[in-house]
Point group: C2
Chain length 230, copies 2
């Protein structure tokens, strides 16, 4: 009989939101079972049962109880496995700032990045300008620190780590430059720095597969075949 693990993560190999949660589990040294969902067309019955409200991945199941929304799940992991690596900043003000910027990244940066990737011509130029601005703003949260979490990676690094991997791929596909040495030099340096962290480096999906999928999704968007990613 197969072993039933107490922690199960429903994700999709290319999902940066599922990856956030995997990173949090790995930082804590928590063993988990990974269920790769076929997103967006063939979601499993189990996923729909576990997350009937948004029907999205990631879903973390801990002792049979489902949790949804990647940022909420990261906080839950830090709240529940209190020993070992601390993900959230200890100081309440720093914690509030980290939450603010994670929300900013989800509300502004992700849509700006997707906007650049799923538009053409003049609309794309407008999105590009907006994307450069929001990432320049995001850079303020880093300042002169090594990581958003300070000397080591923390909540905000996990929350926005997806950009370090995904942005250069999208920039290459669309042939534009959003985060570069001119527009956001500190963020660009952080991209290199976080991708060099062992736990991050060893958990990324294969770049060529990610490139192909992102290219395909962009074409599906532009042709109207799909309207959303998850």
């Amino acid at each position: 009989m197969a072993e039933i693990k107490e922690v199960k993560l429903f994700g999709m190999w290319a999902s940066p939101f599922a990856l956030r949660v995997e990173w949090a589990l790995k930082l804590k040294g928590i063993e988990y079972e990974y269920v790769n969902e076929d997103i967006p067309f063939n979601k499993s019955e189990e996923l729909l049962r576990l997350n009937p409200v948004t029907k999205k991945i990631p879903v973390l199941v801990h002792n049979g109880k489902p949790l949804t929304e990647s940022l909420v799940i990261i906080e839950y992991i830090d709240d529940t496995w209190t020993e070992g690596y601390s993900i959230m900043p200890e100081d309440p003000y720093d914690r509030a700032q980290a939450r603010f910027w994670a929300k900013f990244a989800d509300d502004k940066c992700i849509s700006a990045m997707s906007g650049v990737s799923t538009s053409l011509g003049e609309a794309q130029q407008k999105m590009l300008q907006e994307a450069r601005e929001v990432f320049q703003t995001l850079e303020q949260a880093l300042g002169s620190k090594q990581f958003f979490g300070g000397d080591q990676i923390g909540y905000l690094d996990l929350a926005i780590g997806l950009f370090a991997f995904w942005m250069p791929i999208l920039e290459e596909i669309v042939n534009v430059s959003v985060v570069d040495n001119e527009n956001a030099p500190l963020l660009k340096e952080w991209f290199a720095r976080i991708l060099d962290v062992d736990m991050i480096k060893t958990s990324l999906p294969p770049r060529d597969k990610m490139y192909e999928l992102s290219k395909q999704r962009r074409e599906q968007f532009l042709s109207g075949e799909i309207s959303r990613l998850n």
Copy 2:
């Protein structure tokens, strides 16, 4: 010389987001100075200096340090003034659920509610259907409890308390019914229950002023005079 209070809240009398923060401060018994901003046309220099990123209210200033985003501020208040009333649920799973539903309310319910108020004809019928659905979904988080926080009000009650006051006003202005005994009877009962909590009841803006402003804003939206509320 005027006394300088250590806690200052930049809000706007009719803002449900500023009201959330006021409720949290009141639950904790924290004294604060209130600065009423002229939103959206005449924001003060100080507000723009304190919140250059989103330029929105509410902004809480504690010992000179600014905090933004109402839900983030509520958690900060609970994290900082740890004695007395507990706003966040104690159990990590309950906490995660409360955060999930607050995000759901902000992402889905508020836009659905605004959508009903700022559309006409067929578009409005579509928004109305969507609004009824999302509020029916939100009701699931309440279940058979007195309050979302259990026997007493907590984080999620503060987060969505705005609907209890504002929804009936908008329903009256637009002449529709979103949260009613047929569509979401438990939520409707909770509307009455939370509006009867002393701290809530005594801190609401005057209903007639709120009605007039909401009506005026709706007309400004429909005529294209304004495109956003804050």
